[in-house]
């Protein structure tokens, strides 16, 4: 019931906004077309402005993934994390999730295929991927767009939030869906 309602909201929201906002604005006497074009120009310029920051971050993350550093880290961490309720097959997801959304979904797909979607590992990987974001990408785009080069507490706060999300995923999957 709730899920059906959310489905309706997510399919209707954008078309209704796209048509509804100009209609409301026109009724209030706004010159909708030139105003839209002016805002769109700003959006396009912003997208171009974030390219340098995005290139820098993607280059570093791409090199890190290709170097095999993540595999080495996973091998070193596996004994500790297994004891904490994180199966070795799901560990790469924790390492890759903040760096690349595509790679993270790749790991989830891999776990779902190899261990089944309805087991502990499959459920845990699903919850972890769904409850966190691609931290470095978000930071690069948002900070880059505002021309910020010193992030201050943003990176540690974001990574702590990821860590909390992962830990909470282990607890909630065990409580709500059952342990291994």
């Amino acid at each position: 019931m709730i899920r059906a309602a959310l489905d309706v909201v997510s399919t209707w929201a954008i078309p209704v906004l796209l048509a509804g906002i100009p209609a409301l604005a026109l009724a209030r006497g706004v010159k909708v077309y030139p105003v839209f074009v002016e805002g769109a120009k700003e959006g396009f310029a912003t997208a171009v402005r974030i390219i340098p920051a995005l290139v820098a971050i993607f280059e570093a993350l791409g090199m890190l993934r290709a170097s095999g550093a993540m595999d080495a880290a996973a091998a070193a961490l596996a004994p500790v994390t297994s004891a904490l309720g994180l199966p070795a097959s799901v560990l790469p997801l924790v390492l890759v999730r903040p760096l690349s959304g595509g790679a993270a979904l790749g790991v989830v797909g891999d776990v779902l295929r190899s261990e089944g979607p309805d087991g502990y590992a499959g459920r845990l990987a699903s919850v972890m991927a769904g409850s966190t974001e691609t931290t470095f990408y978000v930071l690069a785009v948002y900070m880059g767009a505002a021309g910020i080069t010193r992030y201050r507490q943003a990176l540690p706060a974001a990574l702590l939030a990821d860590l909390a999300g992962f830990a909470a995923a282990i607890v909630t999957v065990r409580l709500l869906l059952g342990g291994p």
Partner: protein, 201 residues
């Protein structure tokens, strides 16, 4: 950020040397750079569309009306931002689009909010507390329905692809709470340099 970036590059070099993957490194660096441009240009269309729409909404007074509704929560989270500032409207749109899982719409609003907050920032080029908190909130996903994960589960033959909804919501909520607490608490550990009037950002 300079130090972290350099460490990432250095660590890649060392790890590649140890693992004998030096050949893959050049290709990875160039491929990633190209992908960054493709992604930004792919974003350009969505960005232009949504910021155009936002401008229309702004002129019609809709953004300010929306911001007034969410003022009680946002004012408490961002006490240093004036309640009527355009940043409030953009942040509200950003956070609601995120919650509904409209990632394509959330990013342009978030970007707009960051730029509006930068106008309030006395130290250009250094993140303000409000900007750090907004970023932390966006990296802690507040999505109500993780559609891509559910689709992935369905295609893997799950008996109940959406059974993870409750656990995902709880885990997201934990992430959001920690994001807010950490951004607030860690601000003191990362003091911003003194404002330099007239300095180039």
């Amino acid at each position: 950020m300079g130090a972290i970036w350099t460490v990432l590059l250095g660590a890649s070099l060392v790890a590649a040397a140890v693992n004998g993957r030096m050949g893959a490194l050049t290709a990875a660096a160039l491929d990633s750079a190209a992908k960054a441009v493709t992604l930004s240009l792919g974003l350009a269309g969505a960005m232009a569309l949504w910021l155009g729409l936002m401008k229309v909404a702004e002129e019609a007074g809709l953004v300010r009306a929306l911001a007034r509704v969410a003022r009680p929560v946002l004012v408490r989270l961002f006490p240093e931002v004036p309640p009527d500032h355009p940043a409030m409207g953009a942040m509200l749109m950003n956070l609601s689009a995120n919650a509904l899982g409209l990632g394509n719409a959330a990013t342009p609003f978030g970007v707009k909010a960051m730029q509006a907050l930068e106008a309030l920032n006395p130290r250009k080029g250094t993140a303000s507390d409000a900007q750090a908190l907004l970023c932390a909130l966006n990296t802690a996903s507040v999505q109500l329905v993780p559609a891509s994960v559910i689709a992935l589960r369905a295609s893997a033959g799950s008996r109940a692809p959406a059974e993870i909804l409750g656990a995902t919501l709880c885990a997201s909520a934990c992430g959001v709470v920690v994001a807010v607490l950490a951004a607030k608490a860690l601000g003191r550990l990362f003091p911003a340099p003194a404002a330099e009037p007239g300095a180039a950002p």
